[in-house]
């Protein structure tokens, strides 16, 4: 069995940690583009026209049935071929990160359309009507009333997606992305994988705490986003006044 040394673990840990920047880069970019695609798919799903609804559900089904690795390969090897000619040649020169972002945007486009639907349907219908009733436009009512509540409803899903993306992104080392996994793999390769086990330990020490921190962070954001769900803010006030009939001032 390979020798596991503290020095090597630290070496791989220190060597791979900076690559978190790349990890976060594709996570953030894919989340943004993916959510935009998801909104579009959501619109198509609710379209008046059958053909649009069909396209949307086809997209979601196909993407859901495809393993990340296969999608990654399809995008990486396929896009330049599909584009062909000069554009294809230009695409082949693009950094791997671009292909990774495209791949995950496609995935998030499918899953987020469902998240948007769930988040929106959890907001009572009367909320939008109440917004209109005080004279707001549809857009104003969406921004001020629906969106904050949707965001809160979607938060657990957003958190899960981010964590999933970070882990799935580890696959992208297969096409040469230098995220945390890719960087460690690269460093280990330079040493003929002689200290692979130390590298695995270092990677575990990066990914595991990161996941736990992110879980906490998203739970905290959810809490911070929803002052309106904290029941005990006014605990010190007279409690039973909630039930009492209030006598009017005048």
């Amino acid at each position: 069995m390979q020798k596991i040394t503290i020095e090597k673990i630290i070496y791989y840990y220190k060597g791979s940690l900076p690559a978190l920047g790349t990890t976060f880069a594709y996570v953030i970019i894919s989340m943004i583009i993916g959510t935009l695609i998801g909104s579009l798919i959501y619109r198509l799903k609710n379209s008046k026209y059958r053909i649009f609804r069909l396209i949307a559900s086809l997209y979601v089904t196909v993407v859901r049935c495809t393993p990340s690795l296969v999608m990654l390969f399809l995008v990486f090897y396929g896009l330049p071929v599909l584009a062909g000619g000069e554009v294809g040649a230009w695409m082949e020169e693009l950094p791997t990160l671009v292909f990774v972002c495209i791949t995950f945007s496609i995935f998030i486009g499918a899953s987020s359309s469902e998240v948007i639907r769930a988040a929106l349907s959890a907001v009572p219908k009367g909320q939008a009507e109440a917004g209109l009733s005080v004279g707001m436009s549809n857009a104003q009512s969406f921004v001020h009333i629906l969106l904050p509540q949707m965001l809160r409803n979607a938060m657990p899903n957003i958190g899960n997606t981010v964590i999933l993306l970070i882990k799935e992104g580890a696959l992208a080392y297969t096409i040469g992305l230098r995220d945390v996994m890719g960087q460690a793999y690269y460093l280990s390769g330079r040493e003929m994988n002689a200290y692979a086990v130390s590298m695995y330990i270092a990677l575990t020490l990066i990914y595991w705490p990161l996941t736990i921190i992110l879980e906490r962070l998203f739970a905290y954001i959810e809490h911070a986003l929803t002052p309106w769900e904290r029941k005990n803010r006014h605990k010190n006030n007279d409690d039973d006044s909630m039930r009492k009939r209030v006598v009017y001032a005048d």
Partner: protein, 243 residues
């Protein structure tokens, strides 16, 4: 470069020959992870002292690390551990000769074990306590009440998630080539690499996965309907169009 349709036409049946390998990976990994997941669910549900902390730590670790990393660890580290164990026992078994597929089963079942455990525990918690007590009241033993009343209901609640696990597991088999198992993705990599037609080879894999999972989802739907018959009812008068 142009898409080589002729290549796709020839490669598709060739890659499709490896569908049984993929299916076997799914089935065996599921058969490993279901009982273990159920056990973990029970341990967490009952909050068994000591054990439940261990299970929770394991679940957190698996949830917190990429599947590829888990695969590498299982594939590269377990043989050493097994070898040293066998050596101490004085056994003649040479682990390095062991079929690598076994490592794949093990590695792939890690994640599904966790998801199944989570789903079943949540399922157990939704079963009304009165159901168990009603079982006792008609003279069933605690074990019988659990087996005949509580578990089936918990399973029904967990069924959608378990269906999902199966789909995820199917997709995860695409990683088995890392462990030198030639299933459909692995085969595509080989024949795609031989003539540098990766894209076409992966299109074949893409098509095959969609087919496999589409069939799988239909089967799961049937199974789910069968299992949850007590909820939806056989004689569904609600579905008769209201006048």
């Amino acid at each position: 470069m142009q898409i080589d349709y002729e290549f796709i036409r020839r490669a598709l049946p060739d890659i499709a020959r490896y569908i049984p390998v993929t299916l076997k990976l799914v089935v065996v990994s599921f058969l490993i992870s279901f009982p273990i997941g159920a056990l973990f669910a029970w341990i967490n549900y009952k909050k068994v002292k000591g054990l439940s902390q261990v299970v929770k730590a394991y679940m957190s670790l698996i949830r917190g690390t990429p599947v590829v990393l888990q695969i590498y660890v299982i594939y590269n580290v377990t043989p050493y551990i097994l070898a040293s164990i066998f050596e101490k026992m004085g056994s003649e078994i040479n682990v390095y000769r062991l079929d690598t597929t076994w490592y794949a089963y093990l590695a792939l079942s890690l994640s599904s074990t966790v998801t199944i455990a989570e789903a079943l525990r949540a399922g157990l918690e939704t079963v009304n306590k009165g159901q168990f007590e009603a079982g006792l009241s008609v003279g069933l033993s605690a074990k019988q009440a659990l087996w005949h009343i509580v578990f089936p209901q918990a399973l029904t609640t967990a069924m959608p998630v378990i269906g999902n696990v199966t789909v995820e597991l199917t997709k995860a088999t695409s990683l088995a080539f890392i462990m030198a198992v030639t299933e459909i993705t692995g085969r595509a990599k080989i024949i795609g690499g031989s003539v540098l037609r990766y894209f076409e080879a992966y299109i074949c894999v893409f098509i095959l996965y969609i087919l496999i999972i589409a069939v799988l989802e239909q089967l799961l739907k049937l199974l789910e309907r069968k299992i949850s018959v007590y909820r939806t009812g056989k004689h569904n008068y609600m579905s008769v169009k209201a006048i």
